[in-house]
């Protein structure tokens, strides 16, 4: 059951099989398995320390994987360098925000265009017209995204000064700027009020509709999970302990025991 | 200066000289590692000021001229020396470069000044390189440090007197002067009984030369020739004393300052050290009764604020300046060419601080060093004892 739907012809957006990660004796992932179908929103929940962020970091190739396989749209990620993963259309946000504090909000978003656009040092040094052109179009795109995420007011601020919640949204904007085929969000609702959470969920759903990408969502906010996810994978102690619709999972005794507790 | 071309002087004269002034200039090290040399131009300025107050120097053409001396700092950086010298010639329009200092900077400016026809006179450096330069026609004359080759010659002769077949251990700084000296020394001992058996070098930026001294001692040489300068000499003497390596020790004339070089090593550490000299050591009060030294002391006293009476470098500046004054008294033209010739002709000039029996000036246009005779000396109970004068024979 933990296999990514085999029925589809197209390869899954993300398939993580039996991945194992250790940190000097600490087993962070112990055969975790997660599959995300193209344009599916898959939730990833589990107790603190279950290995969710580690899983993200494995896909981003920031952590070394002891064993197991990770494929994005059918390509083996483990054979790539971290910077090549972005090229596969994988965008992510960070749990404790990873923005560039000294760049302006606008530039932060523009960095998101990096993997899509061309123009290395030579081309730039020569000032090829193609570069000027793409720069202009990307700027417009970025400003549009900022508007969509209600960050326009901050556009020319230095990112370091934003409140936590805005930082999370900024990260999201940057991720969307990558025009990803797989979007991995690590607790995007942090620092948002209930109302804002629902807006955010709404927004992601909308964008997915228009751009069409798969989402892997780590979130402790069950409202967000419930309102956004088609399916949810539950992780505990680095193992996949359940997969199912939000409702199935919510009522799964093991999940309640390990994760939700009485509070639902 | 915004006028493109350096304005030529009036009626056939070169720039920098008028009926009542003559303008001299020099770029010297006055900051950074070699900052101590600032004392030299300071002394010159003091002396020239006194002369100017007295109405100026009466030159060969009978005219009294005031001396303007422009002194710039190059921090011993040849690049800045070049820059400064250009400025002196083009902006300040000096008549001649007086008392440039240091081998590298002086070498660096030489081509430019020669092209511009500006003479460099009484520079405080003695590298053998300048002989070559002169042979190539550089406009230089009467440098006021002994030619390194000549000093070595003197040193070798006195070593021979002590022990005709001595083995020699050498410490030298890893720079032009040091290596030149070593090469020169080896050359000189070739056809004598002497033999260089050990050589150690050090970097101006080294912490200490202890290790080198230990190595030199282990060579078992009879004589220690120390081409080092400044604190490295003091360190060497101190260390040699600690590991009691008591052999005949020679230091170069530039390292004979009692108060800053020898005394700090500790009284017995410097005992018996030998060297050569052409001016009295002013850093100790040993020679105060000499009339010339008295003059110096009074001069320094009058200019306390600028001149330290016990500073040997200042004394050199004083000595060089007296040479410059002498040259101006002889000089009766108004062209740079003319000044150069005058200086080249100088011979047998006596100065306040010159050791008795020693005069300055080669009188030989082809030999651009003004020091042609030196006295050997030995450091005995706290003061230099001067021995026989050796004169360059050619």
């Amino acid at each position: 059951m933990s296999d990514p739907e085999p029925s589809r012809g197209t390869p899954p957006a993300l398939s993580i099989l039996d991945v194992r990660v250790e940190f000097g004796g600490i087993i962070a992932l112990d055969g975790a398995t997660v599959g995300v179908a193209p344009d599916q929103v898959m939730g990833l929940i589990g107790p603190n320390g279950a290995g969710k962020t580690t899983l993200f970091n494995c896909v981003s190739r920031l952590y070394e994987v002891q064993s197991g396989s990770i494929e994005v749209h059918g390509t083996d990620v483990l054979a790539r360098r971290p910077d090549q993963v972005a090229g596969l259309g994988v965008a992510r946000t960070f749990q404790n925000v990873g923005v560039f504090p000294t760049e302006t909000v606008l530039d932060n978003v523009l960095v998101g265009a990096y993997p899509r656009t061309r123009g290395g040092m030579w081309a730039t040094a020569l000032g090829l017209p193609s570069i000027r052109r793409s720069e202009r179009t990307e700027r417009e795109r970025a400003r549009a995204l900022l508007a969509e995420l209600e960050l326009t007011a901050y556009a020319d601020e230095v990112a370091g000064q934003l409140p936590f919640g805005s930082l999370k949204r900024l990260e999201l904007a940057r991720a969307l700027m990558m025009e990803p085929r797989l979007l991995m969000l690590d607790e995007p609702a942090n620092g948002l009020t209930h109302g804002e959470v629902l807006e955010l969920a709404e927004l992601v759903r909308g964008l997915r509709g228009s751009h069409g990408f798969a989402v892997l969502l780590v979130e402790h906010n069950m409202d967000m999970v419930a309102s956004l996810c088609d399916e949810v994978t539950v992780l505990e102690l680095g193992r996949t302990i359940a997969v199912g619709t939000p409702d199935q999972v919510r009522s799964d005794p093991r999940v309640i025991e390990a994760y939700l507790g009485g509070a639902e | 200066g915004n006028s493109r071309e350096a304005a030529g002087g009036v009626d056939g004269c070169d720039p920098g000289i008028t009926d009542d002034t003559i303008k001299l200039g020099a770029s010297t090290m006055q900051s950074g590692a070699a900052a101590a040399y600032k004392a030299m131009p300071q002394a010159s300025l003091a002396l020239f000021d006194e002369v100017n107050e007295a109405g100026g120097v009466t030159m060969g053409d009978g005219k009294k001229r005031k001396i303007e001396f422009v002194s710039l700092d190059d921090a011993y950086d040849p690049a800045r020396a070049v820059k400064n010298t250009r400025q002196l010639v083009e902006k300040d329009q000096v008549f001649a470069i007086f008392q440039a200092a240091g081998t590298s900077p002086t070498l660096a400016i030489m081509d430019y000044t020669t092209k511009a026809g500006v003479p460099i006179v009484f520079a405080a450096t003695g590298s053998d390189e300048f002989q070559k330069k002169r042979d190539e026609g550089a406009t230089i004359a009467a440098f006021m440090l002994p030619q390194v080759g000549f000093e070595n010659e003197v040193m070798v002769r006195s070593i021979e007197q002590i022990d005709p077949d001595a083995t020699i251990a050498v410490l030298y700084p890893n720079d032009g002067l040091g290596k030149g000296s070593l090469a020169g020394l080896k050359d000189l001992v070739k056809d004598t009984g002497l033999k260089v058996v050990a050589e150690e070098s050090y970097e101006q930026t080294s912490t200490s030369v202890d290790s080198q001294i230990v190595n030199l001692k282990s060579s078992g040489a009879d004589v220690f020739v120390n081409f080092g300068t400044g604190t490295f000499v003091t360190q060497a003497l101190k260390k040699a004393n600690e590991i009691d390596w008591d052999v005949e020790k020679f230091v170069i004339s530039a390292s004979t300052d009692v108060s800053t070089v020898l005394a700090p090593a500790g009284e017995d550490a410097a005992e018996g050290v030998r060297s050569v000299a052409w001016v009295y050591d002013v850093s100790s009060d040993a020679n105060n009764d000499m009339p010339g030294v008295e003059n110096w002391r009074e001069f320094a006293e009058r200019n306390k604020d600028r001149v330290d009476t016990h500073n040997s470098i200042a004394a050199l500046g004083y000595n060089n300046s007296q040479m410059m004054l002498k040259a101006l008294e002889e000089f009766d033209g108004c062209t740079r060419e003319g000044l150069l010739e005058t200086v080249q002709k100088l011979r047998g000039v006596e100065t306040d601080l010159g050791l008795e029996g020693i005069t300055f000036g080669s009188g030989d246009a082809d030999y651009p060093y003004a020091i042609t005779s030196m006295a050997t000396m030995q450091f005995l109970d706290g003061k230099w004892e001067y021995a026989d004068v050796i004169t360059r024979d050619k």
């Binding site: 749990q95 409140p163 919640g165 607790e187 009020t193 109302g195 402790h220 906010n221 | -």
Partner: protein
């Protein structure tokens, strides 16, 4: 009696004022929750209390004026502050992090307190010698809370404690807060987005918008307020 109160409190970063005349007062033994949209100034308010931002106005703790005091001396007057988004010492071990919390207490007492929190957060115990930097987001949040409580504060400031915590843990944290509060009468001021849980535990509530307190009152009255429901509870 009011144990802690701010009057005419304004705070600003290099440019632009962020807080305008904020007036908050809580009694000894209160658990007060501050709700507010993202960017409202909640974190700034917390930072103002512990002297981490430039502030004017007055902050009084148990009759003692805090404005103008340096952060460490404010802390020494019995205020513990769990900053938003961790604030653990990444290159210290978990145990050392807790020891720093007990920096000003006698060794033996610290040891006892550490055991107590190890029991409450077993995860921390099993990792006591791991560098905190290696812990997961939630684990670090637990560590930060434990460290704050070990210092035995009279006033505890929590900036979104539920941040990154699993629902179960969040619930546990709030219940233990009420426990301790009942036990020791510690006063708690908590900024929280998980209003449901927070208001449940709280006795008093404030709502902050764009740097101003726009509503305040007993917690239950807030729980039943439609406007607040829509924005914060749902």
């Amino acid at each position: 009696m009011t144990f802690f109160a701010t009057k005419q409190l304004t705070a600003s970063y290099g440019r632009g004022t962020v807080l305008h005349n904020v007036e908050v007062s809580v009694d000894q033994g209160d658990i007060a929750v501050i709700l507010g949209a993202n960017g409202a100034g909640k974190t700034t308010f917390m930072r103002a209390i512990t002297g981490l931002v430039k502030t004017q106005g007055s902050i009084v703790l148990d009759g003692l004026e805090l404005v103008g005091k340096r952060t460490h001396s404010i802390a020494r007057h019995g205020i513990a502050h769990v900053p938003q988004g961790r604030g653990t010492f990444k290159d210290l071990t978990v145990a050392d992090n807790l020891r720093v919390g007990g920096y000003r207490l006698p060794e033996r007492q610290v040891a006892a307190l550490m055991d107590r929190w190890y029991d409450f957060f077993p995860k921390l115990k099993s990792r006591s010698n791991q560098l905190a930097g290696g812990m997961s987001g939630g684990e670090q949040q637990m560590l930060a809370i434990a460290r704050a409580l070990i210092s035995q504060p009279r006033l505890l400031l929590l900036d979104e404690p539920s941040l990154g915590l699993a629902p179960k843990v969040t619930a546990e944290v709030f219940s233990v807060l009420t426990e301790i509060n009942a036990e020791t009468g510690i006063t708690v001021l908590v900024v929280e987005q998980n209003a449901k849980v927070a208001l449940a535990a709280a006795s008093k509530g404030f709502v902050m918008e764009t740097g101003r307190i726009v509503r305040s009152g007993p917690a239950e009255s807030m729980r039943n307020d439609d406007e607040i429901r829509r924005a914060y509870l749902g």
